[in-house]
């Protein structure tokens, strides 16, 4: 029988029609009755203490209702998600310009903003730490108990022996900058006053269960007393992972105080100044290699600017440490990954979680070494690339689903890597650059304790199927793949399926919607639910058709007795089940497999599986203006199995665009803790002219623990891009570009310096 499964097909998005007609109500578009508005009051100094908060001017603003601050908190004044270092409202000490002091509540958004600006705070200033170097070298007057927010290390093999074996040792220093998420919809939520002892939150968010726990902690309530629902969310990229917890908690306090629903929408300026960004890294690589190109030893130091609070720095630091040398075999390696507090906006979750930074380090390094060895950068990579049976840098044996090599070969073939031989005599210099990466799927050893997710599948008498899941749709296409996977698992038509908006009351805590884990976690949970559901369906069908249940086949939306050939529609079966009063609701759960990992040495199974990717950038550098143009990106991704190929292309094209922004156009600047690039005329997001055509190549090396063989794609899409571009530019102009963004000024500067030296 022909199988009409949509797995592997580009089913169109169920949410698209509402989005193209403007009907979708994002959080910012939602108003509820009697709603009032909140605006944040925050520190105007980077570091110091405050004594007095004067709201007398704010109170005079027409429409002013209330001011909420630390003294309104009934529970614990703490929102640190991993390390408890961040008060919800500053308690006498402020640690960055943007540190929260209170929330002004008023009848209109404008009045709330005006009142917030009029709150006066008296400060005793301390001298701030505004760089990694200053923070690391401090001897007292620390930002918290110490200035080191967290540290991860890897000690595998013996690097001294390794370096002694090496024919060449290469050292280099790299720097990567901030990146602002600039999700188009700003941070936004509505908190409702307590009803039946329960608090309800509706938000533009990524991790409903983080918010649930954070609000419960602030109120001193059990988690189940907090209900969190996700509204359609206009982009997140990690920026709505932990940050909404604090915004929702403040709104909830305000709602409790004024007894009305409180909406908070961050003004863009506040959003940029207050919320987290991508960690800037400075990295030192020392790598030893044999003459034949075999990597033998590496000593790597990664230093990260964590900003005023740790937020998710530990996760970023961990990921960067265990992926620091990329998808290559290297027997001896030491990595230290240190995150330092500074008196700057906190840095945290951003698509890739430290991986794009580490990738910039290892992939620039690979090109620099290849150059020293006079080897082709692709051949050098292929010589060291991990294959089935190889060990990673953390001594994890890789068995299946290792498509690294194939991504390099396929990308290179399409880019005509071997025949690229540009004329470099003119004003425009052309270059081709390659970058290969691996990305540990899901939360890995460091986050294993919360790496479980669930679904709840409900069959309705009409034959419709409702799926509640604990992760979320933030634009990446979760709803679409959840629809496809559920339809396939049950053998029914995708049109029957409705994926419900994520609601903490409908599913158990499923952990955060991060780490490219949605397809794997939710897909496996769907398979688990289907395992329980199918026998029930078959038994019911055997009663309805009057046959043996082992003869029942459900496929293509039909329920068939294989013996007699008699069939009924799926909806008829559902109707029968409902009339027979049978159970029609099933939960599914999946937890990532156990990992052997030693946190002391960093050796072991860091993640249960890896996605692999290779990007090749084709660039053109204008040596007169320093401008870098990306003419093409070839992007090969091993995704295990493409559930929805167009969705994967969309992720890759979008990830590449963000990578281009980080590598070239997005120059985030602060002056003594004040963001001086808070808007789109100063912080340049890539436009349709900056983004090239991307050729996506899908490689499918099936992952046994992935649903239908699938692995994650959301983050791998951005990780290799910047390094590929920097490699291409370096090769085009013959200068090693070890710092991004590659703004015209930076490129021109380097060109001039080299000119002068010549």
């Amino acid at each position: 029988m022909e199988n009409l499964s949509t797995i592997g097909q580009s089913l169109s998005r169920p949410d698209a029609p509402e989005k193209v007609t403007g009907k979708t109500r994002f959080l910012t578009d939602i108003s509820v009755e009697n709603m009032v508005h909140g605006a944040p009051v925050y520190s105007s100094i980077p570091f110091g203490k405050f004594n007095n908060i004067d709201i007398s001017k704010a109170e005079k603003v027409d429409g002013f209702i209330a001011f909420v601050s630390a003294q309104d908190i009934p529970g614990e004044n703490q929102v640190g998600v991993i390390i408890s270092d961040q008060p919800l409202f500053a308690d006498k000490t402020v640690r960055y310009i943007g540190d929260s002091i209170g929330l002004a509540v008023a009848k209109t958004p404008g009045a709330a903003l005006e009142a917030a600006r009029l709150v006066k705070v008296d400060y005793d200033k301390k001298s701030p730490y505004l760089s990694i170097d200053k923070s690391r070298d401090a001897t007292g007057n620390f930002i918290h108990k110490t200035n080191l927010a967290c540290h991860h290390r890897l000690r595998n093999g013996d690097i001294d022996v390794g370096f002694a074996e090496a024919d060449t040792i290469v050292e280099a220093h790299f720097k990567t900058p901030y990146q602002e998420h600039y999700y188009l919809e700003p941070q936004a939520c509505i908190a409702f006053p307590i009803e039946d002892g329960r608090i309800k939150i509706l938000g533009s968010l990524q991790c409903p269960f983080y918010i649930q726990k954070a609000v419960a902690r602030i109120f001193g309530l059990p988690n189940e007393k907090v209900l969190v629902e996700q509204a359609p969310t206009g982009g997140a990229f990690g920026g709505k992972e932990d940050i909404p917890s604090e915004i929702c908690a403040r709104a909830a306090l305000a709602a409790m105080k004024v007894g009305l629903p409180v909406k908070v929408v961050y003004h863009r300026f506040d959003d940029v100044q207050l919320t987290s960004k991508r960690h800037p890294f400075q990295m030192h690589y020392k790598v030893g290699v044999r003459n034949d190109g075999t990597l033998v030893s590496a000593k790597i130091l990664l230093e990260e600017n964590a900003g005023a609070y740790a937020t998710l720095s530990t996760v970023v630091s961990y990921r960067a440490a265990v992926q620091a040398m990329g998808p290559y075999v290297i027997p001896n390696i030491h990595v230290d990954s240190n995150s330092y507090y500074t008196n700057l906006p906190p840095t945290g979750a951003f698509r890739g979680f430290g991986s794009p930074q580490a990738a910039f380090g290892h992939e620039r390094m690979m090109d620099i070494i290849a150059d020293k060895l006079k080897m082709d950068p692709m051949e050098f990579r292929l010589k060291n690339i991990v294959k089935p049976g190889s060990q990673t840098q953390t001594a994890q044996r890789l068995n299946e689903s290792v498509g690294a090599e194939e991504t390099i070969q396929k990308a290179a073939r399409l880019a005509q890597w071997n025949s690229f031989n540009p004329d470099r005599s003119g004003r425009y210099k052309h270059g081709l650059g390659m970058s290969a990466i691996h990305y540990g799927n899901c939360l890995g050893a460091a986050g294993w304790h919360m790496d479980g997710s669930g679904v709840n599948i409900k069959i309705l008498p009409s034959g419709d199927v409702h799926v509640a899941y604990g992760l979320i749709e933030m634009g990446q296409g979760a709803e679409t793949v959840v629809t496809q996977m559920t339809a396939d698992a049950l053998g029914i038509a995708p049109s029957r399926i409705r994926v419900l908006p994520t609601d903490s009351a409908q599913v158990p805590d499923s952990g955060p919607a991060v780490a490219s884990r949605n397809v794997i976690m939710t897909g496996n949970a769907i398979r688990d639910a289907a395992k329980k559901l199918l026998p029930v369906l078959k038994k019911a069908a055997s009663e309805l058709i009057e046959c043996h249940k082992s003869d029942i086949i459900i496929t293509n939306d039909k329920v068939t007795d294989n013996q007699s050939g008699v069939d009924v529609g799926f909806h008829e079966l559902c109707d029968f089940m409902s009339r027979s009063n049978m159970s029609m609701e099933f939960t599914g759960w999946w937890h990532t497999p156990p990992l052997e990992y030693n946190a002391e040495t960093g050796v072991g199974e860091a993640y249960f599986t890896y996605s692999y990717a290779t990007h090749i950038a084709k660039v053109r550098v204008d040596t007169l203006t320093g401008q870098v143009f990306v003419d093409k990106i070839f992007a090969a991704h091993d995704v295990g199995k493409a559930i929805n190929p167009a969705g994967i292309e969309g992720q890759v094209e979008g990830g590449v665009a963000q990578g281009i922004g980080w590598a070239i156009t997005e120059d985030f600047i602060m002056d003594r803790g004040v963001v001086t690039t808070p808007n789109l005329s100063t912080y340049l997001l890539p436009t349709a002219l900056d983004c090239p055509e991307v050729e996506t190549i899908i490689v499918e090396k099936s992952e046994p623990d992935g649903p239908w063989g699938a692995k994650g794609i959301g983050e791998p899409s951005i990780i290799p891009t910047a390094a590929a571009i920097a490699n291409a530019v370096s090769s085009a102009i013959g200068i090693q570009m070890n710092e991004i963004p590659l703004t015209p000024e930076r490129v021109l500067n380097q060109l001039n310096k080299t000119e002068i030296k010549k």
């Binding site: 919809e185 206009g234 292309e649 789109l680």
Partner: protein, 157 residues
């Protein structure tokens, strides 16, 4: 002192509208908050992103840069009325079919800008589409599938 109000009369999505508005009210806020037409979005508020795009007298404008009083006497069309009551027009259908939508926040502005591109160029090539789309920011898609959709819709017309 109370803010003086000004009477404006205009046509929005084919309907006559009269309102008394303060001189400082942005057209975008008038549409979003007074009329509950929330398809146009407020992202940058300074004419850099195109999320607030609407049609004013037959041409796309950034409604965040226009005051409501300036729209007096004009004819506006917002995304809500693009398909004139039909489910989707060809441009919207192309956005669905070409997988051009991710989070969707930029999409109303993109669809309307796509309409303007076809008006201006008929059957533009991809470079022209990219050029004319460069006032619309999308943080999710990398634009490629949006260009695909506009190219297809232009070809069909």
């Amino acid at each position: 002192m109370a803010n003086p109000l000004f009477r404006i009369s205009l046509t929005i999505n084919g309907q006559p509208v009269q309102a008394d508005v303060p001189a400082t009210l942005r057209l975008l806020d008038f549409l979003r908050y007074d009329l509950d037409l929330t398809g146009a979005k407020d992202v940058c508020g300074e004419g850099e992103c195109g999320a607030c795009t609407i049609f004013m007298d037959g041409k796309t404008v950034n409604s965040c840069l226009i005051l409501a009083v300036e729209a007096d006497g004009s004819e506006l069309m917002t995304i809500e009325d693009l398909s004139h009551g039909k489910m989707l027009n060809e441009m919207q259908q192309a956005f669905v079919d070409y997988h051009s939508v991710q989070c969707g926040y930029c999409i109303p502005g993109m669809v309307l800008s796509g309409e303007q591109i076809i008006k201006d160029h008929g059957k533009p090539d991809r470079d022209t589409i990219r050029e004319d789309l460069s006032g619309n920011i999308c943080r999710c898609t990398g634009y490629q599938k949006i260009v695909d959709a506009i190219e297809f819709a232009a070809d069909k017309r």
